[in-house]
Point group: C2
Chain length 342, copies 2
DNA sequence: CATAGCAGAGACAACGTTGTCTCACACCGG
DNA sequence: CCGGTGTGAGACAACGTTGTCTCTGCTATG
């Protein structure tokens, strides 16, 4: 009773050969109803569960997919993972998750681990910038990246540059010339693209770039809070904030409320719960992580069928959720003064 | 180049026996340095990755743990899963996730799937109420439940009853006699316990129970919003809200702001991002999902060592995060009027 | 009535790995 | 110089399953 029943135990109990049990399990039609019945009874009597590992070993086809993201405890990724799991279950696939914590080494380890598990495929939010080590596994373990891309791999992303341009431009249109970008992390590709958009819009509008307005923040929420305080204590503090991602955005919004500094114009890249309930309500560039996850999974499944497809970069539309926070205008006087000073 | 290299390919390239490669991989010390070097070179040359499934098949010891929760896209569980994954990786274990979507059938399927994968153990937020089917797997696949408990299984929970009593009592202390409970779902054990606490406090204070104040809500956020509107449109609407879980709480808070009904006293069971930034800031009963996940994993690992331990129910302390929303007093006149009416 | 054909069931090998056993060899002490 | 000992490496079986082949016995057909 202590050891798990195997197929041979079932066969012994039903007085048939092992192979016949295998046939019953796999729904092969050429089994006499009487035998099938006996086998099925033995299966329930013994609480037999087929050993997936042995099966996969024999057939070569695993039945798991891997998902590797920055952190599971992040609204963006938990929604994305959720989409993948919802779909995987309909195909009888299990989902193995791993987080990178923004560490390229850990990412590498996670991917190697997934390779050793013979996953059918991987959905990855890449951190590291060298993924050549995946090359030998490409045909056996397809990889679709999400949120960020890697040359040669399928990706499902968002047009960060365009969306961020749009957001920053809206702040500029309200007269802001001192705009801080909170949430920049040089390890993350999207952060770079959003920063580039930010810088381009500013220079196109004749606004000098100030590196102090683009503090580097690590992924902890405390880092964003500290960055906000730093930036606000400058001699020429910003009058508007562009928040580079939803995770940091919630921290910053909290901190703004604690500091009583809700006079700053704000746009967040990524919507989040209660963005509509704070005052002023936070305007957001809206991406759909659930959709991104769903499309990535869909693409992965396509690759199951044909391993030699060309890599495709798929872009998901973003929206702009117009609430109140981006409508706050720059204080006229200060604005003029500082633009002259520069 | 297309097929994955196996141990025998490595052995052939290094001109040693398969077993020697196995020894090198497993760090057995009795291998000549020269041979070890040759093997290691072959391993990198062939991009060899050991096949975990074959290994587990032989050794019997899997290297994965399963996690089954209501939904991954839920701040409570994503944090909990995150704790598990952080710890699992340090032990070289992979994490397979599955969600139930509050469906007992799906839960059953997920658990059977995990059994077939020969996971080392499972951390489960139970939905169904019959888990006897786990009995035969108990010794081989230990199960630790979280958030809710199942008789005979280890659990890591919170004292829902006491914490909810405390919360509701605070509202009563502010003079509220018409308190709605939003977020009740009969499928969830914790919801029942919180409801019981709510009812007990009310009756102890001589307040009649009104079933219309305890609407049943499904897990979608829209359900909570609808329930709020229903309750507010009653002839005698509540003056205070006890929100039974963080997921529904965010929806309700959003809705309250949209409706301009921030005059209601509120306490949420479970803290959430921006609870401190909305106005009034939402007072919360604080549970620590990350800690719950960590303790559950710790317990699971204990069971790896000794499969015959007694089941232990561990309770994690809750806190009360006192902000502003629970301090709103009941409007005196109305309160008196209605209490007379009843 | 004889035989080809087919359906149903079993025997056996194999998937990639590791545990156990055996073997070869070098080294040491008597 | 010989036997015992220990160390390093290989042969073989096995984990639980499925694919392939084979065998048996029945049915249908000429």
């Amino acid at each position: 009773m202590n050891e798990r029943a195997g197929i041979k135990d079932v066969a012994a109990m039903a007085n048939v050969s092992i192979k016949t049990v295998s046939r019953v399990i796999n729904g092969v039609s050429t089994v006499e109803p009487a035998m099938r019945r006996r086998v099925e009874e033995a299966i329930v009597a013994l609480n037999y569960v087929p050993n997936t590992m042995a099966r996969s070993l024999k057939t070569g086809a695993g039945n798991t997919v891997g998902v590797v993201v920055d952190s599971i405890d992040d609204v963006f990724f938990s929604s994305l993972v959720s989409a993948i799991e919802d779909r995987a279950i309909t195909l009888g696939l299990s989902v193995i998750i791993g987080s990178t914590g923004f560490d390229a080494g850990r990412e590498h380890a996670q991917l190697l681990n997934l390779a050793s598990q013979h996953v059918r495929g991987v959905i990855l939010a890449p951190v590291g910038n060298d993924h050549t080590f995946l090359e030998p596994y490409r045909s056996i373990m397809p990889v679709v990246t999400v949120d960020r891309s890697v040359p040669g791999l399928d990706s499902v992303t968002v047009d960060d540059y365009a969306a961020a341009r749009d957001g920053v431009a809206r702040l500029v249109a309200r007269g802001h010339r001192r705009i801080a970008l909170i949430g920049y992390d040089p390890r993350i590709q999207t952060a770079d693209r959003r920063r580039a958009a930010y810088e381009d819009v500013l220079t196109e509008n004749g606004i000098a770039l100030d590196p102090r307005f683009v503090p580097e923040v690590s992924f902890e929420s405390a880092a964003a809070t500290a960055a906000l305080k730093d930036v606000l204590s400058l001699a020429d503090p910003p009058t508007a904030l562009f928040l580079a991602n939803a995770r940091h955005a919630t921290s910053v919004i909290s901190a703004m409320h604690h500091l009583g500094r809700t006079d700053l114009a704000v746009i967040s890249f990524g919507d989040f719960a209660l963005a509509d309930a704070v005052n002023p309500a936070v305007s957001c560039i809206d991406q759909d992580p659930y959709l991104i996850g769903a499309l990535a999974f869909e693409r992965l499944v396509e690759r199951f069928g044909d391993t030699s497809l060309e890599a495709v970069d798929r872009t998901v539309e973003t929206g702009f959720v117009s609430r109140a926070s981006h409508l706050i205008s720059a204080p006229k006087l200060t604005d003029v003064l500082t633009s002259e000073r520069r």
